[in-house]
């Protein structure tokens, strides 16, 4: 008669089966939960180009009144349009390259400024001072003459 128990293979097999069943059950519970938590595919598709909600003439008039129009939606991101003193128009992805606040054009200082952490860009979108590590993403701008004589601003991604 021996006191030391010898391993019982059948019991081990049952234990292994139980362990795998528990693991499979846990997986079966967590899989749908994780898939549920995962974001849905975006329902709004990004546009290839967009027309600014103001014409060149309107932009000039607003600058003359000391107003700067806020960024508008292009490709689900804010798009900042700036009219330079020489009449050139530039467009940028207004998301600051530091930590993704939305920047603003400062009419008085002639620069692009991020209110969140005092990042400053010049009108080429290059970082001048403060924390931003990279230039702003620039967009392509096309001016299109309208029947009423004004020019509309069409922004598209640079190829």
């Amino acid at each position: 008669m021996s006191d030391s128990p010898t391993p019982v293979p059948r019991r081990n097999w049952l234990l292994r089966l139980l362990q795998w069943s528990i693991a499979a059950s846990v997986a079966a519970i967590f899989y749908p939960v994780v898939r549920f938590l995962w974001p849905r595919p975006a329902t709004v598709s990004g546009a290839a180009e967009v027309t600014a909600p103001f014409t060149v003439e309107e932009l000039k008039a607003r600058y003359a009144r000391g107003e700067v129009p806020p960024p508008f939606n292009f490709d689900n991101k804010p798009c900042l349009v700036v009219l330079l003193p020489d009449g050139e128009i530039r467009a940028f992805n207004a998301i600051c390259t530091h930590v993704a606040c939305t920047v603003a054009f400062r009419l008085d200082k002639k620069d692009i400024f991020c209110n969140c952490h005092n990042g400053v860009y010049d009108l080429n979108g290059q970082p001048v001072s403060g924390p931003p590590p990279r230039p702003l993403q620039a967009y392509k701008v096309i001016r299109r003459r309208l029947p009423n004589g004004q020019e509309e601003i069409v922004v598209s991604r640079t190829a």
Partner: protein
């Protein structure tokens, strides 16, 4: 063997036990372990009833988890509620599964609670010193019915809209304060977006907080008093301490978990085969949809409301029905104090008969609510009364002739 000095200083400790000591010193795990070791569950004919409370707790856990998941996509506004639930059902991966499990589990939970109440009544587990366990249990049942009622509106479909309109209107039938209760429940004269916001807050903030508090008291009382053993069982073994028992951890808990596992499987099957419907979006100026009826657990009240004439003893229909069910609720709440003989295991004839009648009436009225029985109120009362008499007579005859000593 060349062990490091520290390890040789702790020869008796198996690996990992230093962590155990570290945690125990700081968290007092030993006290918890002792508590778990001490808890035992009696084994007898009615032991199966002990599983219902744990089952309700498990289903409540399912509700909490699936409810939190649904709240990640749900938007409580009349413009978006229906669309967001539709998106959960069609766009979000496994959204149909989570929502269907939430709805099915809610229904199973109410069913388990009804059974828990009934079995607790049958074995007289409410007797001294467990009166407050009974009362907190009934409060929990009321809270879960409120969960069911408030959650029903959230998808903002036509059925939900009218169920809420009718339900809150009935609350308006409460004498004196009814008018103010209605305004408070609806946040205005009509069911609007404000009502939806109010019900949402009730469903996901107010009721969960209150429920957790009351549930805490209920579970504390269950731990404090231990499991109640029915009188016939105590008599048969000649003393409460002589009744055989098993440890709660792990023996009873493992049996609990088998039940929970089966419940989870059942929920998955129900959700997959019968996904919960969404219906059509609520139109506040549309007519009530055909064959509109509440969830099964409210059907007995709905049927009674339909059968009751427009005026009873000078009271309006809904006032009389509200008054009647309030009185029934009050009697149920006071059962531990009405059953004077419970403490020594004496007979409980009147209450047992009334309860049998109530259960028969519940079944009959649910049948009426489903449209299976075409009964007037008097027919319902008589049918359930006769059924109760037959059941009671059958029970008495069974005890007399079978000579079961359990029948007191």
């Amino acid at each position: 063997m060349s062990h490091a000095p520290l390890e040789s200083a702790l020869p008796a400790m198996p690996p990992g036990s230093r962590w155990k000591t570290f945690l125990d010193e700081r968290l007092g795990l030993d006290a918890l372990a002792q508590l778990a070791e001490k808890k035992r569950v009696p084994v007898h004919r009615a032991t199966v009833f002990y599983f219902l409370g744990g089952m309700a707790l498990f289903l409540f856990g399912i509700q909490v988890v699936t409810g939190i998941l649904l709240s990640l996509y749900y938007k409580p506004s009349p413009d978006q509620a229906f669309e967001s639930v539709r998106a959960i059902m069609t766009e979000v991966e496994f959204g149909w599964l989570i929502r269907s499990i939430h709805s099915w589990s809610a229904n199973l939970l109410i069913g388990v609670l009804y059974l828990h109440l009934l079995t607790t009544f049958i074995v007289r587990a409410y007797r001294r010193p467990r009166e407050f366990t009974w009362i907190t249990g009934l409060v929990l049942l009321a809270l879960f019915l409120a969960f069911g009622f408030s959650g029903y509106l959230l998808p903002w479909n036509q059925l939900a809209f009218f169920a809420t309109k009718v339900g809150t209107d009935i609350a308006g039938g409460v004498p004196l304060v009814g008018k103010y209760m209605l305004l408070l429940a609806r946040s205005g004269e009509e069911v609007t977006g404000d009502t939806l916001a109010r019900f949402y807050s009730l469903h996901v903030v107010i009721l969960p907080l209150v429920t957790l508090a009351v549930l805490g008291v209920h579970l504390y009382l269950v731990q404090k008093h231990g499991m109640s053993i029915p009188h016939p069982v105590i008599r048969r073994y000649g003393g409460e301490e002589k009744v055989p028992s098993i440890p709660f951890v792990p023996h009873f808990l493992l049996r609990d978990m088998v039940g929970w596992y089966v419940a989870l499987g059942l929920l998955a099957v129900l959700a997959a085969l019968f996904p919960w419907e969404l219906g059509v979006k609520a139109d506040p100026f549309g007519s009530a949809p055909e064959a509109i009826r509440p969830e099964w657990y409210f059907l007995f009240m709905f049927a009674t409301l339909e059968q009751t004439p427009s005026h009873v003893f000078g009271l309006e229909n809904k006032q009389a029905v509200v008054l009647f069910f309030s009185l029934v609720g009050l009697v149920v709440l006071l059962v531990p104090f009405l059953d004077r003989a419970a403490a020594w295991g004496g007979p409980r004839r009147v209450l047992s008969f009334l309860a049998t009648w109530a259960v028969c009436a519940f079944v009959v009225q649910t049948g009426v609510g489903l449209g299976l029985l075409d009964f007037h109120l008097g027919t319902s009362v008589a049918t359930s009364g006769i059924a109760a008499v037959v059941l009671a007579a059958g029970y008495v005859a069974y005890c007399r002739f079978a000579g079961r000593e359990q029948c007191s």
